[in-house]
Amino acid sequence: MEIERKGKTIYLKNKELNALDKLVLDFVSLIKFDYVIISGYVAILFGRSRTTEDVDLFINPRNKQELFDFFDSLKTKDFSIMNAENNEDAYELLREGSSLRIIFHGNIFPNFELKFPKETLGELALINKIKVAFDHGIINTSELESQIAYKLFLGSDKDLDDAAHLYRVLKEYLNPEELKYYIKAMKIKKSVVRESLGEDLET
């Protein structure tokens, strides 16, 4: 895997885009405000060969109109909101902390799950976002260190597998102090860190 990291951008050149990558790039091209993609798709982006039912995003539009403009633009690329009747309902769902599901071409899977950040980690995800640049586009994601730690925190087999993959593939490009900070802050057991990441990270 050829990775280049310059500050807050990771370059993944010559990646042959799969159908999911293309769909994600197409979707994010409509977003004109701050967002980050988190969770399962990030592991796939960096080479895990697994499926996902949804692509998770935190979004942070500057105002309601900007969000509505985004909703209105969805149909131009055959996307539609699955769980709200209109823009106001969609906004209310997000405001109350629920997820908004957006589908492509009427197919339920894979769908895009959008949320407003409702806790510190979500807000930090947006503030400390990084970019992953391909030959044909850019995707925003959150700090990889916090994503790895959060997956260890979630603790399902799938999450632990993703953490193991991301750590193994990106180890040389991660900030170990940052990773240790999140692991400590999330009170992750040493045994979980050792088993998933393959080594002790003294925190």
Partner: protein
């Protein structure tokens, strides 16, 4: 009526097996991560594309 066997299930054994399965899966994930690290982006992503495209039947984009 056919009688089915209802053996006593040991949860301890099941948990042990679950952990064993996950450990073995983790080992494969680490092996695979090391494998793709040695490959060029073109190589590993082509392999991944075959798998992902087979799973998702995403229609060509409309734009």
């Amino acid at each position: 009526m056919v009688k089915t066997l209802r053996p006593k299930i040991s949860l301890k054994e099941l948990r042990k097996e679950k952990r064993r399965n996950h450990r073995s899966n983790l080992e494969f994930i680490k092996f695979y991560a090391d494998y793709i690290k040695k490959k060029s982006n073109k190589e590993w992503s082509s392999e991944q594309k075959r798998f992902v495209d087979m799973i998702y039947n995403i229609p060509e984009k409309s734009s």
